[in-house]
């Protein structure tokens, strides 16, 4: 770690300087002390000087000084605590010691013999003066033994062991600024871990002292770490809690007992219940947990905790069994695609069955239809699940990319990731690779500054690119966040004007300016590097993401960093849609963009004087009449419906005749002839066989804008 060494060298320098000052001060203090041998203030000063020289010396590698000074410090600690008096002899020795330290500090040749002589003399002084010294010797003994015991304990090998940790903090836990949540976070880093809070000791609200800790915790942890590592997690609170750590399951146990512990057995081994109590209540046929709670032998929390433990061990064992048997089967992806297609058909047929059974009104039939519906939905989810892959594989590829690129550009960049386990459709992941590469390259090349520039700006030398993935409703959001220079709005504007994307008069919000970087032919990099800057980056990113029915969002603060968020649908084949009707035609609006539905009466239309605007709870929402857009010329119903959606962070309404309801939409792509139609992303077949078009809300909005119907006032 080069940065550490830098600090270390500087520290050494400062230490030498500081030690010299302290030694000078020490000399004066000692001479004064000789005059007034009982001045506690002076004694304290001498002790502190020695203490600092020792502590800081050891820190910066002056081990000889630290070692030597320790003896003098010990002597003065005794003086300080009244166990020894300031004598002429002590003063002489200390002054000589001072000179010796000085010599060591200067690095001149030091006579070891003198050091040893001083130390021996000091020790002799201490022995004469102190009787209670024996205590110290005794104290050291158990410490040594403990160390040995520890070594023996850590000798267990790498197999994972499940521990039961019972953490019962005393009431005053919080008064030391301790935070149990952080300890659990630390435990979670050690392995698979379940934390169960025991809340039965919490008093009623009227008696509750919010500054006291009334909760205790049971933790079940499966880890390869040994018991001492776990103890270390609680090291700071060991005096203010009761902590027990027991092994409840180890790998080797597996062979002997191929079964899960019963709840009663777990409670029994925890000492929460005795065997006779258990047998007594087992006479009845109810669940052990309920009986125990009812008879007041154990609290509900304890049973809950034991149940969780049982579940945890079950899972651990299952996982182990899984690892032992074959972990996965490889299947060609076209077989999977075939399955997905079939499930799609099934969903369509099931919709038809549900619809038909509804018209028959036959109770038996509708029960069957509901059953089929339930199974179909589960089948759909599972099938989609098979195609899902964690995005982690892609993430780890980028680690290499970041490493190589930052080396090439002479930048110091660390990439951190979060949510690598987030699953996405395989096709989506594959198509996501290129856009992500572009975005990360951009962050490294344009975003993160050179180490010198960063230090100058008061930031840590190494830049960070943070990659996160997570679920957000029916979408997955992937964020690429850097702590670099942020986007330079002025540079972007100038560049955009120069390349003719906008005219100088155009007034743009910050957000609009940011979105300019997604325009084709745009690049602000001062020099074209091999990494990025050929102006074929971000527009391709946006195109690719939109092709996946996703959106790109950019947030940036100058000098702080840039965050680019990619929002993607979970899967490409089936979506949740809102089925609507205009005249005799059906349309589906993806439910992921729908916010709400409101009515639009004739009155409303007249009141807005021909503008396509509605008022929803005081807010102005522009709308698009799908009837006009799709050129449907049948009579308009008295009351229409507006489906309010959010498109590119703006609320836009779509006016339809009727809203029918939620609909499982299997997406069928349109034929080649219809590929160019704007505002429609595909079609689906409804239960009765009719075709419904799927409205592509973002495209439709931008198409309407281009045509100059200008929905936005």
């Amino acid at each position: 770690m080069s940065s550490g060494n830098e600090g270390f060298d500087k520290g050494r320098e400062i230490f030498t300087e500081e030690a010299n000052e302290l030694l000078a001060e020490l000399e004066t203090s000692l001479l004064e002390l000789e005059e007034t041998p009982t001045d506690t203030e002076l004694i304290g000063r001498v002790f502190r000087a020695m203490h600092t020289i020792k502590g800081s010396g050891a820190m910066f590698g002056f081990d000889d000084i630290a070692h030597f000074t320790h003896e003098v410090e010990t002597a003065f600690d005794m003086v300080r605590t009244g166990k020894m008096l300031v004598t002429k002899e002590l003063m002489d020795l200390t002054l000589r010691a001072r000179d010796q330290i000085r010599a060591m500090l200067d690095g001149t040749s030091v006579d070891e013999a003198i050091s040893n002589e001083i130390i021996t003399a000091l020790r002799a002084l201490m022995v004469i003066n102190v009787l209670s010294d024996e205590q110290e010797g005794q104290q050291e003994q158990p410490g040594g033994q403990e160390a040995v015991a520890r070594v023996e304990h850590t000798a267990t090998d790498n197999e994972s062991v499940t521990y039961r940790i019972r953490f019962r903090p005393h009431k005053e836990l919080f008064l030391t600024g301790s935070n149990p949540l952080l300890m659990f976070a630390e435990l979670r880093e050690l392995g698979n871990c379940v934390v169960i809070a025991q809340t039965d000791a919490i008093p009623p609200l009227s008696e509750l002292d919010p500054e006291s800790c009334h909760t205790s915790w049971d933790v079940v942890l499966t880890t390869t770490a040994d018991q001492n590592t776990i103890k270390d997690v609680f090291i700071f609170v060991q005096d203010i809690c009761d902590l027990t750590i027991e092994v409840i399951e180890a790998d080797s146990d597996m062979l002997e007992q191929e079964r899960h512990l019963k709840l009663g057995e777990i409670l029994l081994s925890r000492g929460d219940v005795s065997l006779s109590e258990l047998q007594q209540v087992l006479g009845t046929q109810r669940r052990v947990g309920e009986i125990l709670v009812d008879s007041g032998i154990v609290g509900e929390d304890q049973v809950q905790s034991a149940l969780v433990e049982q579940q945890h061990i079950k899972e651990v064992r299952q996982q182990r069994a899984k690892q032992e048997s074959m972990a996965s089967i490889r299947v060609p992806s076209d077989k999977l695609d075939g399955l997905v297609d079939l499930v799609g058909e099934l969903v369509t047929v099931q919709a038809r069955l549900t619809q038909t059974s509804a018209t028959f009104g036959d109770a038996v039939l509708s029960i069957i239809a509901e059953e089929v519906e339930r199974i179909t939905w589960e089948l759909r989810d599972r099938t989609m699940g098979i195609r899902m892959m964690p995005i982690g594989g892609t993430f780890s590829k980028f680690k290499r990319l970041v490493r190589d690129l930052s080396a090439e550009l002479g930048k110091d960049i660390v990439m951190t990731t979060d949510g690598a386990e987030t699953e996405l459709d395989k096709t989506v992941i594959e198509k996501l690779n290129d856009p992500l590469v572009h975005v990360i390259r951009n962050s490294i090349d344009h975003g993160i500054e050179s180490p010198e520039a960063r230090l100058k700006a008061g930031k840590p030398k190494h830049g960070t690119v943070h990659l996160t993935a997570g679920h957000s409703g029916a979408n997955v959001v992937i964020q690429i966040k850097d702590d670099g220079a942020g986007l330079d709005t002025e540079a972007i504007l100038n560049k955009a004007i120069k390349s003719g994307i906008i005219t100088p008069e155009t007034e743009l919000s910050e957000k609009d300016i940011f979105s300019l970087i997604f325009e084709p032919g745009f690049s602000t990099a001062k020099n074209i590097t091999s990494v990025s800057g050929r102006g074929v980056g971000m527009d391709v990113v946006k195109k690719n993401i939109i092709a996946l029915r996703g959106t790109v969002d950019i947030k940036s603060k100058k000098g702080v960093g840039t965050t680019i968020s990619l929002k993607l649908p979970l899967t490409l084949a089936i979506i949740d849609g809102l089925l609507v009707k205009i005249s005799d035609d059906f349309y589906v609006i993806p439910l992921s963009v729908v916010h709400e539905c409101v009515e639009l009466t004739r009155n409303d239309v007249e009141n807005s004087h021909g503008r396509h605007i509605s008022y929803v709870r005081g807010a102005i929402v522009p709308y698009i009449r799908l009837r006009e857009y799709f050129a449907i010329n049948t009579p308009v119903p008295e009351v229409e419906q507006i489906v309010i959606t959010e498109v590119e962070e703006q609320r836009v309404g779509f006016v339809v005749d009727y809203v029918i309801g939620e609909h499982q939409t299997v997406i069928k792509t349109l034929g080649r002839l219809y590929k160019t139609i704007e505002g429609v992303s595909g079609a689906t077949i409804l239960g009765d066989g009719t075709v419904a078009l799927i409205v592509d809300a973002p495209k439709l909005v931008s198409a309407v804008r281009l045509e100059g119907i200008e929905a936005v006032s």
Binding site: M1, E6, A58
Partner: protein, 121 residues
């Protein structure tokens, strides 16, 4: 991160070392030369954690910990004391004064950061 940590030590070299390590890890650092200085600075700055030496002139570490805990705003913040192996009784005193944890000198930068992660998150 963006959290602020106060390092209290009468030794400039220790302050330097702590400060350098923390800044490298992205924390903001406030330095104080003794307990009295620390208390004065605490009132003026938003501090999320205190790392203090025990032996200092004017107001020592134990006194500082007590005084910090007496302030409502800092009653629950993590306070870590720097001790040496020979100071077991001092450590006990510190604990009962309300210290969250301790680091034994000499320590390495990584150890310091590990303890901070432990008590500050």
């Amino acid at each position: 991160m963006g959290k602020t940590i106060m390092t209290v030590d009468d030794s400039a070299s220790i302050r330097q070392m702590v400060s350098f390590t923390l800044k490298g890890a992205g924390y903001t650092v406030v330095e104080a030369v003794d307990g009295k200085d620390a208390l004065a600075k605490l009132d003026k700055t938003q501090v999320h954690m205190v790392i203090t030496d025990l032996n200092m002139p004017n107001l020592d570490g134990i006194g500082l910990i007590r005084a910090v805990r007496a302030k409502p705003a800092f009653k629950f913040i993590p306070i870590v004391m720097l001790t040496t192996e020979s100071q077991d009784t001092r450590k006990q005193e510190g604990k009962s004064a309300g210290a969250t944890g301790w680091i034994v000198k000499p320590f390495k930068p990584e150890q310091l950061l590990a303890v901070i992660k432990k008590v500050l998150g």
